[in-house]
């Protein structure tokens, strides 16, 4: 690979960082290798995953004979892919290697010290060299992209390892790892690219992989539809991203991060142009990061394998929007109105999704809405200019949400194995069929409790620090910041920020409640799986629990990466200082040039409030919910009133169906298909061209009379016109 070290003056140019392209290349090679291996055996797509076919009891009848053969020995599944061993090596192997390289690069970057105030741009080759638009394929290594790379490769490695156990019996095993490696490649491209177009490639690439993995078991229509939904909803956001890029190029003439950051200061503070650009960027972020109103695809995306939900739809891809806004920090800090929009949308999403999470029975759906809600938190963070807080929450969320998803995967795996052994066809993901799993799966239970405390905001677990920092930042911005002085839809910025803070607290309360509810119903109380199945419930193998343990440790201590100055002492605000070169300027502009300041008393009060709410939420759920009174899903009565509304997710999907999908389909069917396609394209253009050719041919054939008289006339007229041409020249 041609490495033009355009930043050769940079101290990182002489270190391992010069091989940063290898971090990208490794997953790509893994994709190619696994993709080729997946072609070595005839593909047998089918639901062999524990969570596959849930809610579709009939699907199990189709492959009952395969299950029978499977009963003789768990380790020798007849459908297991012949190349599975190689894939198990390559898939997680390339990720581990990439993580090692990322770690080495990280150490080199730490060694560079103050030199990291300038990003290390590694130009690989020219991509679009056209006139004013010069876009090289260049990688940008700076503290922000380094954090993202570490999260992606680190958690990616763990999830790949988990997948080895979770997906081992799937006939599409190599295909799965090929997609997963491809996803990691695109995600790394997204965060490592040095310009918006490169980010967009990664952006679209992860969207593609998300689509492929949601519809991994594409033989079931619901899964395929979920993939299509994710893809189409994301297109709306991509439109915004594209428009933002066009506007940036039209006004700044460059699309590289360094160029945009330099040019951003030239915009009018709070001007219409920069606000428009930021809002379009945010539209892109709402699509990819599942914010209102484009969040609807994420819950459906749980149709994919559970590790995919953990990696793509919780830890990495959905946080791309947060990364994008943090990356555009200088731009956003010029547009307070856009920032307030981001914060308000984030807060509303956080609360809205949390309410839905309160009443879901599917364990993955609870986590899905929880993810949407936590993403809302991150947007609140980056929205109020606390980019470090947003990225901090992104990181801790990646830890505990990956842990929660993998834990739920472990639970589903156990449930499925149990139902499998007894040939039952109950739903392996419905919490009403679980209960008391603590006794059968102690490791998973303990680790998931850690994650629950983390997400709930109990100190000293990681989520507490990141969530508290966001809320504190919102509170701090209500005074003495560009946001407080701006107006948003006629409201003063400080009022909006107080509302956002209140919404954040409400979301925190609900988060504690629904997470505790999930834990209670899953792991506590009596077991509702069934007496025959209880004997088959057991902890997952070590290849799955191992990553869980690592994630559990990270969830527990991840918060220490950015302790508040109040309690941290010499260890405080590590991440803040680390990210300072990238987002510091933007944050400072929002806070009017001074570091945000809250009196210690206020800070203690805020922490106290947050902890009280978290503890209160857990206590509320613990005392009010009675897992003992639950009955299995098949025997449950239908919910009524508000519960039913929440279970049906506020009927948002139905509303979208009525207002957007059906009219679109109607217009497509009547106007676009029958009118435009069948009428104008087929009728006028295609058949019209045919008629035109036939008509002209008919006219021509009329000249061909076969009578010499006609020919004589034609000949003479031709001669006359030629002579006329000579005569009048």
């Amino acid at each position: 690979m041609h490495t033009d070290l355009s930043a050769s003056g940079h101290p990182l140019g002489d270190t391992v960082a010069a091989f940063a392209w290898l971090i990208l290349l490794l997953p790509l090679l893994g994709f190619v290798a696994n993709g080729l291996l997946s072609l070595t055996a005839a593909a047998q797509p089918g639901p062999a995953d524990p969570s596959a076919g849930h809610g579709h009891g009939d699907a199990h009848h189709g492959d009952a004979h395969a299950h029978d053969a499977h009963d003789t020995g768990h380790d020798h599944h007849p459908a297991r892919h012949p190349a599975a061993k190689w894939v198990s090596l390559i898939g997680p192997g390339v990720l581990a290697a990439a993580f090692g390289l990322a770690l080495a690069t990280f150490l080199a970057m730490r060694g560079a010290g103050d030199a990291m105030h300038a990003p290390f741009v590694l130009t690989l080759f020219d991509w679009i060299p056209t006139g004013a638009l010069q876009i090289p394929v260049a990688l940008q290594l700076d503290p922000l992209s380094m954090v993202m790379v570490l999260i992606i490769t680190g958690i990616g490695t763990l999830i790949h390892l988990f997948s080895v156990g979770y997906m081992q019996d799937d006939p599409g095993y190599p295909r799965y790892f090929a997609y997963l490696n491809l996803f990691v490649f695109f995600m790394l491209l997204l965060v490592l690219g040095a310009s918006y177009p490169l980010m967009f490639i990664g952006w679209e690439g992860v969207g593609l992989c998300s689509y492929l993995l949601i519809g991994f078991w594409f033989t079931e229509e619901a899964n395929a539809n979920a993939g299509k939904k994710a893809f189409i909803v994301n297109r709306i956001g991509d439109f915004g991203f594209l428009v933002a890029m066009f506007l940036l190029f039209a006004n700044l003439g460059t699309l590289s991060y360094t160029g945009v950051a330099a040019g951003a200061a030239g915009f009018e503070m709070g001007g219409a142009l920069v606000t428009t650009i930021c809002l379009f960027l945010f539209l892109g972020a709402t699509g990819k990061s599942a914010q209102m109103p484009l969040y609807v695809w994420l819950p459906d995306a749980m149709a994919g394998p559970t590790p995919v939900s953990a990696l793509i739809h919780a830890a990495t891809m959905v946080t791309a929007g947060v990364y994008m806004i943090a990356r555009s920090a200088t731009l956003f800090s010029m547009a307070p109105a856009a920032q307030l929009t981001v914060a308000v949308v984030g807060a509303l999403t956080a609360v809205f999704a949390a309410t839905i999470g309160l009443k879901q029975w599917d364990i993955k759906k609870v986590l899905a809405y929880s993810t949407v809600s936590q993403l809302g938190y991150m947007f609140v963070g980056v929205g109020v200019g606390a980019y470090t807080a947003g990225v901090f929450h992104l990181m801790t969320h990646a830890f505990f949400k990956a842990l929660l998803f993998l834990g739920s995967g472990s639970v589903i795996y156990a449930m499925h194995q149990a139902y499998h052994a007894t040939h039952a066809h109950a739903d392996a993901q419905d919490m009403r069929n679980m209960g008391g799993l603590r006794r059968f799966m102690p490791i998973t239970s303990t680790l998931m409790w850690i994650a629950t405390l983390a997400i709930g905001g109990i100190p000293p677990f990681s989520g507490f620090f990141s969530k508290d920092e966001i809320l504190a930042a919102v509170f701090a911005r209500t005074h003495h910041s560009t946001l407080a002085e701006a107006t948003w839809l006629g409201l003063p910025g400080s009022v909006v920020l107080y509302a956002v803070y209140a919404l954040g607290l409400a979301a925190a309360l609900m988060t504690a409640v629904y997470m505790t509810r999930m834990m209670l119903y899953t792991f506590h109380g009596p077991n509702r799986t069934g007496t025959a199945e209880q004997g088959h419930l057991r902890e997952a193998p070590w290849i799955m629990t191992g990553p869980l343990v690592v994630l559990g440790v990270l969830s527990a201590v991840g918060g220490f990466l950015n302790l508040p100055a109040l309690v941290g002492g010499g260890m405080s605000e590590i991440l803040h200082h680390w990210l300072e070169p990238v987002v510091g300027e933007g944050t400072l502009r929002v806070t009017l040039g001074e570091a945000a300041h809250l009196s210690h008393a206020t800070e203690y009060a805020l922490i106290g409030t947050a902890v009280a709410i978290a503890v209160g939420g857990i206590a509320l759920a613990w005392t009010r919910l009675k897992p003992a009174e639950l009955v299995p899903a098949a025997e449950s009565p239908a919910e009524q009133g508000i519960e039913r509304t929440l279970l049906n997710k506020w009927y948002v999907d139905e509303a979208y169906d009525r207002t957007v999908v059906q009219p679109t389909l109607g217009v497509s069917r009547t106007v676009l298909w029958k009118g435009l396609d069948a009428g104008i394209i087929d009728g006028l253009f295609v058949n019209g061209a045919g008629f035109l050719a036939r008509g002209l041919g008919w006219l021509g054939s009329q000249l061909q009379t076969g009578r010499i008289g006609t020919y004589a006339w034609v000949l003479v007229l031709g001669a006359v016109s030629v002579l006329a041409g000579f005569s009048f020249r």
Partner: protein, 188 residues
């Protein structure tokens, strides 16, 4: 033959035969009977032969009478009579008024165009008084009137001449083959 040139006498006869040629041509295209038309065409050719002679192309004038008026037109008349087309038949041979007017217009257009082109492209005019000293000697003692034509014909244009003879041969063979009554062997 004395070389005295009488412009008035010359001009009078030139115009006379020219007008006769035009009148005969008009009569030729307007006759319904093919035989009458052919006879009027022969008249045009005779007039042209006279003009050729007046233009000092005596040999061409002789050939015009012999080959054109004599041989070719006789073949025409022969065919007309062979096919018994001597009488104007019921089917209108001449087209209706519309085509006739259109043909007249087109004819006028061609005439105008040719006139314009000839006027603009052909430079020079020979004075009648100097006509005797022109490029083509009227007659010389040794070669007569044929040598000036025969010279170029058999020197520069010998190849074309031979090719033309082959063409004639092919035309004769073709005419025989086409005109031959088809025997039972050829009947389909």
């Amino acid at each position: 033959m004395d070389n005295t040139f009488h412009p008035l006498f010359y001009g009078f006869h030139f115009y006379l035969f020219g007008l006769i040629a035009i009148a005969s041509a008009i009569l030729f295209v307007t006759r319904k009977s093919p035989v009458a038309a052919a006879l009027w065409l022969i008249n045009v050719m005779f007039c042209l032969a006279v003009l050729y002679v007046m233009l000092d192309a005596q040999f061409i004038g002789a050939i015009q009478v012999l080959v054109y008026a004599g041989a070719i037109m006789v073949v025409f008349l022969f065919v007309v009579m062979l096919l018994n087309l001597g009488q104007p038949d019921d089917l209108a041979d001449i087209r209706g008024t519309g085509p006739r007017l259109a043909a007249g217009a087109v004819g006028l257009a061609i005439l105008a165009e040719v006139m314009v082109l000839a006027r603009s492209r052909i430079q020079g005019e020979y004075a009648p008084a100097a006509a005797v000293e022109l490029l083509v000697p009227a007659a010389d003692a040794v070669g007569g009137v044929i040598a000036p034509v025969a010279g170029p014909l058999f020197r520069e244009h010998l190849l074309a001449f031979e090719l033309t003879s082959i063409l004639l041969l092919a035309a004769i063979v073709g005419a025989v083959v086409i005109g031959k009554k088809q025997g039972p062997a050829d009947a389909r």
